[in-house]
């Protein structure tokens, strides 16, 4: 990777840059999306669209009550609700970032018990999505779901519970090696007193440890806000958070030089995330050739982008959830407090064929068991949304641009073309040919079965 300062803005706002930025920030895109992005400037697109604040979606009606009825169904409903945000997000980076936060400040619905609480946590992430990371961390610390998930609600004077204190520093802010066991004990004391009632949390002064604590070298009668402030005064914190951003949005193995540049920027902006993301997305580093197609799509991204690529606005949520679980990503239920490992761990001999079967099923309009999906894609009509759909070569190139971010080799591209033509000559291709639908069906299946399709 290039050394030196890499946060300089790219000079060419071209189709290649658009495709890369879209592939990393939204769940799938179309030719129309590319055209739109190119019709405005890079700054406009990033700052006024990707990172713009957007109205919050209405929640499911039941999020206000604290009954434990129908929790399994409600968790599913909440999953569908979130899928729907992802599909209808427009040109916003928000939902990918909410997913990032969900995988960062992890809670699991099983322990949290009420999906209502998962909703409120999700809303918290959405509210702070590009906001101030320090203030967000304070809110997360007293978030009802988190208080239950990491036993903060059991943490009280005389009977401290270190669960949250440890993970706060190890997984959420600084990373291991930047604090001592004593710091953990002292942080736990400072976090005492918080309890959960239904879907809200409250401070119970009687349970608060009202004594002096010494945390990371500072001494005082600290409470939870002080703890977070102290943590965010540590150099390690900005680096840790930027390393996480790097791993999610650039590549799985962080480049410390670039991470440090991002961390400096984050501190200069008092932990406001938006300017950092803005600089990152516009940077020569982010747009360097090596990064293109180097990220393995996570299952939710994989499943949602298929819908967006085909312009499916009313998808089969139930089926998508089943597939996502098969692909080992169940929203609101990460495997443990460190979240999904991601990257290569997404692809194994179970999930790879399952991904293929899923994309096949979308093309076929039916599930592997033969039952119909709730939507059907008209492939001929879809092909005709591309300007040069009557040219086989142009169609292959244009479709590949939407579906494949990895630089396709000439051999792969010819393989796709041969698949589409299915023995016919290139000048024989027409979407009006009676065989066009069958050919397109095979073509799209083969396209989405490419190993390259797993990469973004």
């Amino acid at each position: 990777m290039k050394s030196g300062y890499n946060l300089n803005k790219i000079t060419d706002w071209d189709e290649k840059a658009v495709v890369h930025i879209l592939s990393r920030t939204v769940f799938g895109y179309t030719q129309q999306d590319i055209d739109f992005a190119l019709s405005i400037s890079l700054d406009e697109f990033v700052d006024n669209h990707l990172l713009a604040s957007a109205p919050e979606p209405d929640p499911p009606f039941w999020v206000y009550d604290s009954s434990s009825d129908n929790s399994t169904e409600r968790t599913r409903e909440l999953t569908y609700w979130w899928y729907n945000q992802m599909i209808r997000q427009g040109y916003s980076f928000r939902e990918k970032m909410v997913l990032f936060w969900h995988n960062h400040f992890v809670s699991e619905v099983d322990k949290v018990a009420l999906p209502q609480r998962m909703y409120w946590q999700n809303k918290l992430f959405r509210g702070y999505v590009f906001g101030n990371m320090r203030e967000m961390t304070k809110k997360v610390t007293i978030d009802p779901a988190m208080l239950i998930y990491l036993d903060g609600n059991k943490n009280r004077q005389g009977a401290p519970n270190e669960n949250y204190a440890r993970e706060l520093m190890e997984l959420f802010t600084m990373g291991i090696g930047n604090y001592t066991e004593t710091d953990i004990q002292e942080v736990a004391r400072a976090l005492t007193g918080w309890r959960v009632d239904g879907v809200t949390s409250y401070f119970d002064e009687e349970r608060f440890d009202d004594g002096e604590k010494t945390i990371l070298g500072e001494t005082g009668n600290f409470g939870y806000e002080d703890v977070v402030d102290i943590i965010f005064r540590q150099q390690a914190t900005a680096k840790f958070l930027c390393r996480e951003l790097y791993r999610e949005f650039i590549y799985i193995t962080p480049d410390e030089n670039f991470v440090n540049q991002l961390a400096d920027l984050l501190r200069q902006n008092d932990y406001e995330l938006k300017p950092v993301l803005s600089a990152l997305l516009k940077s020569t580093y982010f747009h360097s050739e090596e990064i293109r197609g180097a990220k393995i799509k996570n299952p939710v991204e994989f499943i949602i982008q298929v819908m967006r690529q085909f312009n499916v606005t009313t998808p089969d949520f139930n089926y998508m959830r089943q597939v996502a679980e098969q692909l080992e990503q169940k929203l609101f239920d990460p495997p443990n407090v460190s979240g999904w490992d991601g990257d290569k761990r997404w692809i194994n001999t179970t999930t790879f064929p399952a991904r293929n079967i899923f994309t096949d099923s979308v093309v076929e309009g039916e599930k592997p068991n033969g039952s119909e999906l709730t939507f059907q894609i008209n492939l001929v009509n879809y092909a005709r949304t591309f300007p040069d759909s009557e040219s086989a070569e142009a169609l292959v190139d244009d479709v590949a641009k939407i579906f494949i971010q990895f630089p396709l080799s000439e051999k792969r591209r010819n393989y796709l073309l041969d698949t589409l033509l299915d023995g016919a000559e290139v000048y024989d291709w027409s979407t009006f040919d009676p065989q066009a639908e069958n050919r397109l069906r095979l073509f799209f299946k083969v396209l989405m079965r490419l190993s390259e399709y797993q990469l973004s």
Partner: protein
Amino acid sequence: MDRRKFLRHLGILTGAGTVSMTLGDIPIKAFAHPLISANTVNGKVLVLVQLSGGNDGLNTVIPFQDSNYHNARPSIRISENDALRLSNTLGLHPSLNSFKELYDEGELAVVQNVGYPNPDRSHFRSTDIWLSASDSNDYVEDGWVGRFLAKAFPEPETFNTNHPMAIQIGASQSMLLQCTCQGQMGISFEDPNQFYQLINGSTADNDPPPNTIAGEQLRYIKQIAAQSIQYAQIIKDAADNVQNKVQYPNSSLGRQLAIVAELIAGGLETPVYLTSVGGFDTHSSQLNSHANLLQNLANSVSAFIQDLKLLGVADRVVVMTFSEFGRRVEQNGSAGTDHGTAAPLFVIGNNVKGGIVGKNPDLQNLDNNGDIVYEFDFRQVYATLLQDQLGMSADKMEDVLFKNFETLPLIAVKHAASGGPVSFSLYQNYPNPFNPATRIDYTLKIPQFIKLVVYDPTGAEVLTLDQGWKEAGSYSATFGDGRYPSGIYYCRLISGSYKQTIKMILLK
């Protein structure tokens, strides 16, 4: 009934859990572990036949002397004259004549009144209970077979990880083969050739990835793709190795079992298979439909047993039927029966201890819904098959079934670990150590499909010395021609999932 709501898995899934879970880095060796234990002999197989919809147990195994039975079912009862008599009070449905033959040969056991406490009468929920082996009020996400394979498989060291640990013949994958600890323990497909073709379609990819970080990611994905393909090849090879020796009924179940027979006899080491047949939800006019369902079941399974015998692998295989529940004792208003509770199930095979286990259903003392109170917990049957057929040690039972259950006397010749049959012998090579060549002798007591392979200590295959269908007799093979380096080699004789291994030393 429609199981969409509970459809958890789709289509073709590959993965021997142990391999896919240890995929930290590439490349992955053909064998997860070096071959260390010589003279391992196991190879028992369990074939499950799931009867979806809730089979009417009372009309399957009929208490023809019980007046309560006749009174409850005036228009759908099976008369004493029609029932195929198993005892003075009990008979099989007349469509089950091929089961009657197996019973007479001592190869079929009827386990009476199998169920569980607080029975659930929902198809979905009760199916999940049966597949997960959970209590009625526990919600478990994985299957008892998946947990067994992941946590209690008796020979994890020697299992050939080139072979799937479990196979479901069918389109969608059951939770049965899932373990939350390791994911899918099995694969599912409808037909070996179709499976091969489907996987095959996505392979023509030997395009080397570019030497970039993205190219590195692509290389990894291509390797995984290749691995999932590897099962398809091995399954196809096993199916191609042998031909069925009997005619099966031309039904889905018949075709499924025909495939299973070929895979077992063709050399696949997979210990558990799941097959299924639907339509047992007989709410109305059930006399004819139920007769057809049972006839298909009995004829398919007995063809399978007969085939296994002719293929020389019958000693290894036990079949168990199961259904999510039995049906209401009293017939309903439309000459059918509604959802019920406990019911009989069948355990079938050469090594099964034939007979009737348990009492006749007690039709005097029904539960509040008018359903039969269970006598045996279904997990007792599982426990029996896991221990006595598949060789699970008793101390693993809680890992798999959550608690301990008493086993039942169903298996006559228990798992090979406690002295099962051996149909071949592989002798120590001579000379040993050797240079440059050595001779390997083996004998087959019955005709069978064998493979004789040499591995290096990493488990990589060095050479296949012999492979194919062989008559009973003595054979020998030679290994070594001066080309191989000094070191330890293992020679393994494989027949189905039986295998025996010797250690050979080449000293130059």
